[in-house]
Symmetry: C2
Amino acid sequence: MEKLLEKEDWITVENGTIATPLGFYADGKHCGLKRKKKDIGIIFSETPAESAAVYTMNQMQAAPIFITKDSLEVNQTLQAIVVNSGVANACTGKRGLEDGFAMRAMAAKHLGVAETSVAVASTGVIGDYLPMEKLATGIAALDLKSGISSDFHEAILTTDTVQKELTLQSEIGGKVITISGVAKGSGMIHPNMATMLSFITTDAAVPAELLQKLLKQKVDQTFNQITVDGDTSTNDMVIVMANGCAGNAIFSDGTPEFTAFAKMFYAVCQHLAKSIARDGEGATKLIEAKVKGATSKEDARMIAKQIVSSSLVKTAMFGEDANWGRIICAIGYSGGRFSPDNITIKIGNTVILEKSETTNYAPDVLASYLKMENISIEVNLHSGLEDGVAWGCDLSYDYVKINACYRT
Amino acid sequence: MEKLLEKEDWITVENGTIATPLGFYADGKHCGLKRKKKDIGIIFSETPAESAAVYTMNQMQAAPIFITKDSLEVNQTLQAIVVNSGVANACTGKRGLEDGFAMRAMAAKHLGVAETSVAVASTGVIGDYLPMEKLATGIAALDLKSGISSDFHEAILTTDTVQKELTLQSEIGGKVITISGVAKGSGMIHPNMATMLSFITTDAAVPAELLQKLLKQKVDQTFNQITVDGDTSTNDMVIVMANGCAGNAIFSDGTPEFTAFAKMFYAVCQHLAKSIARDGEGATKLIEAKVKGATSKEDARMIAKQIVSSSLVKTAMFGEDANWGRIICAIGYSGGRFSPDNITIKIGNTVILEKSETTNYAPDVLASYLKMENISIEVNLHSGLEDGVAWGCDLSYDYVKINACYRT
C-alpha cells in the first residue's frame, strides 16, 4: 500500500493559504476572462525560491508550458507564478506564445522582478486567444500587500465546485516548516506523468535538484493516480517553490529531516489529488482503488488506475451497485500481470470475490456501504509484494450535463 | 482512408439472415436466462465448415472462450455455434468451464455432431453460473427445420436496442456467393484485437488458414476500431464459418476471386461494427473519426480510436457542440506521432482548424450539421500517407441511466 500516513507528525493549519509559508504572498482578482468569478492570480516569494515543475505528457502542449519551462531553465529558481483561468491559451500557435510571454512580462514588471523569475499557467477553453487588455488590467490590480491570499485559490478554478487547499506545518530539524498546496481539477483529468494545475509553496530550504526528484516521485504516487474522465489535458502543470525563509539548514537527500519533509510533502499532494478526484465533474463519490500483491509497483498503480477509469465501474458506483464483474473486467484489460484465478476483491469491509469467484456476502451490508460518499475497493492479486492506489469518482448524469453544455 | 466501398459489386439481401448462405440453418428461443426475450440460439451448417475465430485480449477470459478454442483447435472446422445471452459465464472458475463443456455437449447431442464441431459463446452478467436445467430445455427446443432463423439474431442480444445483421450476395468466379453476419454489442465495447460477439456465415469455399488471415485483418480494420465505453469485455469473440456449399473452386490468396470475396467480407464487418457503435448504450449519434496523413496505419487507427473514445468529445457531440479543443486534446494524448503545429480538422464539410489554429468557420452551418445522427470528424495530420478510421457514439444521460441500474 502507498504509505497511509497513519501517524501524522504535523498539524493542519486552519484557514491556511498558499501564502502561509514564510515569505510568500498571493492575491486573486476578476478581470473579465470569466463572467463573474476571479480569473487572475499571482503567488510571490520575497526571495528567489528553488523551484521544480512537472508538465503534461500531452503532445499538444499549451503555450504556458513553454513559457514556464523557459523561466525554470535559467537557474531553477522562481519568484512568482501568474495564473489565469477561463482561457487555456492552448492551440493558439505563434500568437499564443507571444501572448504567454507578454503575460509573463506584465507580471514581472508589476512585481519588479526579472521575467525569467516568473512562471505562467492557464486553464480554461482551448483555442481562444488571451484577451490581453483585460489581462493587463487584471495583473495591474493584483495587490500583494492588501490582497486576500486565499483569493488566489478561487482565481485558478474552472468548473470546480470547491477550492482545494491544504497547509501543513511541522517542526523539522529545530525549525518550523510549512508546506501549502492548492489545485484546480474538475474535468480533462487523467494526468500522465504530470498533472492538472497545482502550486505548492514551502518556506523550507531545499536544493532545486532534490526538489525536482521529490516532486516527480510524489506526483507519480498522487496526481498521476487520479482520473475523472480519462482525458489528459494540454495545460497540466505542478510547480513547487521552496524559498528557505524558515531558516533550516538546506536539506540533503537521505537525512531524517528530508524524509520528514518528504512525508509531509506527500500528504499535501495526496490530499490535493484526492480532492480533485472527489470534485470531478458531476461526481457524487470519491472512489479509492487499492491494489495489493502485485508483481511491481507499476503494475499495482496501473491496475488501480484502470479500475477507477472504467466507465462501467464509475456508473455502477453512481448506481450504488456492487457490480464486481466490471471491476474484474477492468483488471483484465489493464495490461498488468496477475493470475486470473486468484483474485480477491473487497468493497469496504466486505469480501465479495475470492479466488476470482463470488462469495456468499451479505448484500444488505454492502448496499448500505455503497450509499456512502467515500468508497474503497481493495484488490489482492496474490502475485507479489507490491502495492498501489488510485482515486477516481463516479460517473453521473451531471457529468454529461456539464460537458454537453460547457461552452453554450 | 480505409476503403470506402464506393463501388459496390454486390447486392444486399433484404430480410437476409445468418442462415441465408446455402447449407446454413439457425434458430433462437427463450429459456428463462432473461426475463422475456430470446436467450438461446444456434447456427448449424449441414456440412463441416472451415472456420476461424478471434477472441478478446482481456486476461480474464470467460469460459466459452476456452471451449470454442478447444473445438477449433481440432481441425479448424465447425458445424455449429451455440450462444446464450443473459449470463456471461465469466469469472465462474472450474464450474464455469464444466458448464461450458456441458453446454457444448448438449448442443452436439441435439444436432447429432461431434462435440468439437460446436463453438460456444455467452454474453450477459459476469459472475453468475449458467442455469443448466433451463439451458438444457432451451437447447432441446431449438428447431432447425421449422424454427425462424432470424430469431437467432434476437437470442444473442443484451441491452442492444436493435438487431445488427447484414447479408450480401455477389457472383464471384461464376458462382453466387453469400456472406451473412450478425452481432451483439451495446456495452463493455472497446475491442482489443478481438471483439464483442459476432458470427459470420458464408457458403463460399475458403481454406481455414486463409479465412483466419482474412478475419484477423478485417477485424483489425472494423470491430477493433469501435468503442462505446472503453471497456474491453471478457467474452468478446468473432467466428466465421465457410461451408463451401456455393460450389466455388476453393479460394486462394491473391486471386481476383478472393479479393472480391475479401471486399464483400469487409463490407459485412464494417456494417456490423458501425451498427454496434451506433447502438452503443444510450447513444443518439454515430461518430466516425477519419485520420489522414499519418506516418503509419497503426498511428492513424490509434488516433482515430482515441478521438471517438474521449468522454469529453462524446459529451460534446451529445451536446451538439463543435468543441474541437477536446478533439485536438485527444489527438495529443493518443500516443500517435504527428506535428503539433500542422493539424487540419473538418467536422462534416466545415474546416474548423487549420495549421492547428481555429478558422473563421460559419457556426450556423456547423450547428445544423451537429444535429444530425451521423457525425463525421476528419483529421489531416499532414505527416505521412497513411489513413485510418474509427467509430464511436456520443455519451448521453441514458448511458449513465442504463449502467447505474443494469442489475437492479
